[in-house]
C-alpha cells in the first residue's frame, strides 16, 4: 500500500498519533507531527512511497513539532525531533518541510555507515549511474531535477549511498529540493509536476520540494553501478563545459564531498578509490541546466 491510497484524514490521524510509517530505500521512518501543512506536503511528495508494516522495525522516529517561545509567543515556530531528541530548530514553521528533509538526510548520514556517503545527486539511465558530487549551491539538485524530467531515474538529489561491499549505489528516491530560479525552471519544463507549496525561507529564498518520479520510487530497491562522476559547478557567467578530470583530481575533489569518509577508515579509502578507479570523472560547469543535461546525456 502506498501513501497515495491512504485517506487524508488517516494521514493526519497517524501523524498526530503513533506515527506514519514510510519506507524510503533501505530506511523506514515513523513520522509524526502537528505542523500545519505537513500532512498535505507529505501526501504530495511521498504519494508513491510504500507504507511500512505497523509492527515492523523502525530505523528512525522523526517528529516535526510546533514550538512557541515564551518571548515570541505569536511567532509560529517548529523543531524536528529524531528518536526523541530535538536536533533541528526552532525554525519558522514555513521551513518545516525543508528541515524535515534535512533531518531525514541527517539520519542517514549519521547512521548508515555500511555505505560511503557522498554529498551527491545520483541519477541512472540504462543501468549506469551518474554521481554528481557537490556541496549546497553547486547546482546538483537542479541538474537532478532536469534529468528526472527528461526520464532519468532518480536515486537521490543529495546523497549517494555507495556500498562498501560491492560499490553499487543504493536509491533513496526522495523529493528533490529546489530553490528560486530552479523552481521557475521546473515550472517551465514540467508545469504540472507535483511539488510542495513554495515557502519563503530566511537565508534561502523560495524553496519547494519536487515529487520524485513514480518510476524512481517503484524501483527504489534496485541498485545501480556508478559509471561516471561529474563534479558540478553552476556559473551564471560561464558557458556549459564538460572537461575530463584525472583520477588524482577526482579523488582530491571527492574526499571533501564525503559525509563519512574519515569515520569509515580503511573501508572508506577502499570504497572511494574503487569508485574513482571505476568511473571516468569530469568537471561540469554550466549556466543552463537543460544544456547541462544534454551534455551529460552525451556521456552515456
Amino acid at each position: 500500500m502506498t501513501l497515495r491510497e491512504l485517506p487524508a484524514e488517516e494521514i493526519l490521524r497517524r501523524l498526530s498519533g503513533t506515527g506514519l510509517r514510510l519506507r524510503t530505500g533501505p530506511f523506514t521512518y515513523s513520522i509524526a507531527g502537528d505542523c500545519p501543512g505537513q500532512a498535505k506536503a507529505l501526501g504530495t511528495l511521498y504519494a508513491d512511497f510504500p507504507l511500512a508494516e505497523e509492527d515492523g522495525f523502525i530505523d528512525f522516529h522523526v517528529r516535526v513539532a510546533r514550538r512557541r517561545l515564551p518571548r515570541r509567543p505569536l511567532r509560529a515556530l517548529a523543531c524536528v525531533e529524531i528518536d526523541g531528541v530535538t536536533r533541528f530548530g526552532p525554525f519558522p514553521s514555513a521551513a518545516a518541510m525543508l528541515n524535515f528533509e534535512w533531518a531525514l538526510n541527517w539520519c542517514v548520514s549519521r547512521h548508515a555507515h555500511q555505505y560511503l556517503i557522498l554529498h551527491a545527486a545520483t541519477m541512472e539511465r540504462n543501468g549506469r549511474a551518474l554521481l554528481v558530487p557537490g556541496w549546497a549551491g553547486t547546482g546538483k539538485s537542479t541538474l537532478a531535477a532536469v534529468l528526472a524530467v527528461r526520464g532519468w531515474r532518480l536515486l537521490s538529489d543529495e546523497m549517494a549511498l555507495v556500498s562498501c561491499a560491492d560499490g553499487s549505489a543504493t536509491p533513496l528516491a526522495r523529493p528533490v529540493c529546489l530553490k528560486n530560479r530552479s523552481i521557475a525552471l521546473l515550472k517551465e519544463l514540467a508545469p504540472a509536476w507535483p511539488c510542495s507549496a513554495p515557502a519563503e525561507v530566511e537565508g534561502e529564498g523560495q524553496v519547494l520540494h519536487m515529487q520524485p518520479p513514480a518510476e524512481s520510487v517503484a524501483r527504489m530497491d534496485e541498485r545501480a553501478m556508478p559509471a561516471a562522476l561529474a563534479f558540478v559547478a553552476h556559473r551564471r557567467d560561464a558557458p556549459t563545459a564538460l572537461a575530463p578530470l584525472s583520477k588524482t583530481d577526482a579523488m582530491l575533489q571527492a574526499i571533501p564531498c564525503c559525509f563519512n569518509y574519515k569515520a569509515l577508515g580503511e573501508a572508506g579509502f577502499d570504497a572511494l578509490t574503487r569508485l574513482v578507479e571505476r568511473c571516468p570523472a569530469f568537471r561540469l560547469t554550466y549556466r543552463d541546466a537543460v544544456e547541462a543535461a544534454r551534455t551529460v546525456e552525451g556521456l552515456s
Partner: protein, 113 residues
C-alpha cells in the same frame, strides 16, 4: 582527513645521526595514479597525498627498512634515477622526514640510536 602535498613546506631539518622507519602497526595502504599517490594510514585514519618523489622516499622506508637521512637520500637518487649532483635531494629528504614524522607515518628507530 589530512591531505599532505608532498614534503614541500620547509621545517626543522631532521638530525643526520638518526635512522628512520615506517611506524609499526598495520601497513600503509596505497593508491597511485599517474605521478601522485594517496596513502591511507590505518593508525591515524588520515589520507596523505604525495607527489612522486615523496612516494618513492616513503616506499624506501617500507618493508622494515631502517635508513638514516643520507642513506635515504642515496636510495631516493637511485629510485628517481637522478645523478649524484642533485644536492637538493638532501634538503628534500630532511623536509620529508620532518613532515612524515610530524604526521606519525615514520618514526626514529630508537633501537638503532
Amino acid at each position: 582527513m589530512a591531505v599532505t602535498t608532498g614534503p614541500g613546506a620547509a621545517g626543522p631539518v631532521a638530525g643526520s645521526g638518526q635512522r628512520w622507519r615506517v611506524r609499526p602497526g598495520p601497513p600503509l595502504r596505497w593508491q597511485s595514479w599517474d605521478d601522485h599517490s594517496f596513502v591511507f594510514d590505518p593508525v591515524s585514519g588520515d589520507t596523505h597525498f604525495l607527489d612522486a618523489a615523496a612516494a618513492e622516499a616513503l616506499r624506501c622506508l617500507e618493508g622494515g627498512a631502517v635508513l638514516g637521512r643520507s642513506e635515504l637520500a642515496r636510495a631516493l637518487l637511485q629510485r628517481l634515477e637522478l645523478g649524484s649532483a642533485e644536492a637538493n635531494v638532501d634538503r628534500y629528504v630532511g623536509e620529508f622526514i620532518t613532515r612524515c614524522e610530524r604526521l606519525g607515518i615514520i618514526e626514529a628507530d630508537v633501537d638503532a640510536a
